[in-house]
């Protein structure tokens, strides 16, 4: 079973701090960014299997990150996370090519379940069973 390369982008440091170890537990190599500009630069340098991005951020928002990732390589699965979820935003994200969309707050297991589905779709399954500790 190979590792899954994940880029995690959220301008709130606590999100990356909490989720990085939670995703590492299921075999993800996680790079955490708080600055979307730096994240986009890294996306241009390296292929990530999964990009997890917040939507509401200063300078560059999550939708722009999604568009950038899809334009670069649409094999990457983009998961949108937001504290301001609403139907129109969710539909816009899916239309632009997001793999999934989840409202904050969520449990690490919720994100791990989505990442496990993304890994499955990429043909790189990870070992995950719901209920694993955070």
């Amino acid at each position: 079973m190979s590792n899954l390369d994940v880029l995690l982008l959220d301008d709130e440091p606590i999100v990356g701090k909490r989720l990085k170890p939670a995703l590492a537990k299921v075999g993800c190599e996680v790079e955490v960014f708080q600055n979307p500009v730096e994240a986009l630069k890294r996306i241009d340098e390296k292929f990530f299997d999964v990009v997890v991005t917040d939507i509401s951020m200063a300078e560059v928002d999550g939708m722009q990150v999604l568009e950038h990732v899809v334009a670069k390589n649409n094999a990457t699965k983009v998961i949108m996370i937001t504290g301001f979820a609403m139907m129109s935003l969710a539909r816009e994200a899916m239309e632009k090519g997001a793999f999934d969309f989840i409202a904050k707050p969520f449990k690490p297991d919720d994100l791990r379940a989505i990442i496990a589905r993304a890994a499955e779709a990429l043909g790189k399954p990870i070992a995950f069973e719901a209920g694993e500790s955070a």
């Binding site: 139907m87 969710a90 539909r91 899916m94 239309e95 997001a98 969309f101 409202a103 707050p105 989505i114």
Partner: protein, 274 residues
């Protein structure tokens, strides 16, 4: 895949379109076949549930309180059936309570007037001036029905993702159009939209436990929080709050319950004048 919710000014048209969608698109159907199960689960008559779905409340119609109860029970069972995706639903008023779910593709189909007259008028036809009146009366009754419980006008196009008039479009074409649009990526289920359905379902199940005693209660589920609003006199606030909390906690999955008491000013005024 998306789930499709069909609403129409004609129940027969809604049924025909939905059945064709199910057949051509491989969708499962959710319709009034759920009423016997609903009746059994909540100990009401199927006839009352049907009446709640068809008739506005009123002095000569169904009592408003009973209608609210019946619609709450229907809502709770219908949402349970709408949990999986790939469903086509009609005849249950779901377009009025399954709101804000991105993978629910809501369609309003407007029937040809002559078709509607066939359904509404015993003779099957009517002179033009009479036909207009029959249709207007029917529309008025439907609007009253949708405003009764849901405080919405179901003929408002803003409630739907797509409105199709069968005046110039054949039913087969309409079905094709609906299936093609429902296949768009924006209507695909996602974690957020699935969680929305789960929250609506839990809220409806909690409300079903409360509605007989508190017909005007409002229930919202947000993550692990269940928020209940109840109207009551100040002196009953503590007692009603405890009753509502206890009832809500009998619903599987309910964790934290908040009860907000809204002062019943009319009742309060009546009481202070005694």
């Amino acid at each position: 895949m998306a789930s499709i919710i069909i609403s129409s000014d004609s129940s027969l048209t809604a049924a025909r379109i939905a059945e064709k969608i199910a057949e051509k698109g491989g969708f499962s159907v959710v319709n009034r076949d759920i009423l016997p199960e609903t009746a059994q689960k909540y100990d009401v008559d199927v006839a009352q549930l049907k009446k709640a779905l068809d008739k506005p409340a009123g002095i000569f119609g169904m009592p408003a309180k009973l209608k609210k109860q019946c619609m709450t029970y229907i809502q709770a069972v219908a949402l349970e059936k709408l949990l999986p995706d790939n469903i086509v639903c009609y005849g249950l008023g779901a377009h009025l309570y399954a709101k804000g779910v991105s993978h629910f593709f809501k369609v309003r189909v407007l029937t040809r007037p002559e078709q509607l007259i066939k359904e509404l008028h015993p003779a099957g036809t009517a002179p033009e001036n009479k036909a207009e009146k029959i249709i207007a009366k029917h529309e008025k009754a439907r609007n009253r029905w949708s405003r009764d419980v849901f405080k919405q006008d179901e003929s408002n196009a803003g409630l739907y993702d797509l409105v199709i008039s069968l005046n110039q479009i054949e039913e087969e074409e309409a079905v094709k159009m609906i299936l093609e649009t429902a296949a768009l990526r924006q209507f695909e289920p996602m974690t957020y939209s699935i969680n929305c359905v789960k929250e609506f379902l839990m809220a409806a199940q909690v409300k079903a436990k409360l509605v007989e005693r508190f017909p005007d209660c409002r229930v919202r589920v947000d993550g692990e929080n269940t928020v209940i609003h109840i109207q009551a006199l100040k002196r009953n606030a503590k007692k009603y709050s405890a009753v509502a909390k206890e009832a809500a906690r009998t619903v599987p999955g309910v964790k934290h319950v908040e009860v907000h008491i809204l002062t019943d000013f009319i009742g309060q005024a009546v009481e202070s004048n005694r």
